[in-house]
Assembly symmetry: C2
Homo-oligomer: 125 residues x 2
């Protein structure tokens, strides 16, 4: 969280804080995280291959998410002039660094899954 | 990412992997992250106070998100029997640990914001 980097909230430039929140809003997104993970594990992937590795994503959502990720500089999109055109996606260094930052959340989910399941059972029961 | 915890994907129990992905899908969500941050910074908050600190969230989305967070064991919801009833939300230890795991993503957003803005300008221009 913002205060962990060692600055009390009062000292944070509100414009920068708004930008950081906007970035968080963009990247703290399940599809972005799952696409990042697929590209990190598999390297370069074609559009249809990403769709296969990211279960449950619609074509529309995948199109929108890879476009936003390309705009944010997280992935590259390379079009090969063949027929039919081949389009390949890969992580940039920036995307790889976000993948590393997310790593803590994956580890958290793995190590707390029993607690979460237990909380759900208690809530539902 | 899953492979960072030191196990090749082949060895991961597919049922556990599906659960972890489902948990990631739940918590990798901008509203969850922003509510976590508000509660971490401010401690206990009432519903309307969360709404004030999490800019742009609709009442419907806030209701849905705090309910899911309560079900997942991330926050507690305490109702005080006064008129009108007072309802307070606070992080559990599990919620606090998720906040810590997310911390890397906040730091990433803070330290890479210039690169992201530059990528956006290049994409849009």
């Amino acid at each position: 969280m913002a205060r962990e980097v060692g600055r009390p909230p009062e000292e944070v430039d509100p414009e920068i804080e708004a930008l950081v929140r906007e970035i968080i809003g963009r990247v703290a997104d399940k599809w972005t995280m799952l696409i990042l993970e697929a590209l990190e594990e598999r390297g370069t992937l074609r559009f249809t291959e990403i769709a296969r590795h990211v279960e449950g994503i619609s074509q529309k959502m995948l199109t929108k998410t890879v476009r936003q990720m390309e705009r944010d500089g997280l992935i590259t999109r390379t079009v090969f002039p063949v027929v039919p055109p081949r389009v390949e996606y890969a992580l940039t260094n920036l995307g790889r660094s976000l993948g590393e930052a997310f790593c803590g959340v994956w580890i958290w989910a793995e190590s707390h899954r029993d607690q979460i399941q237990e909380a759900r059972r208690a809530f539902d029961g």
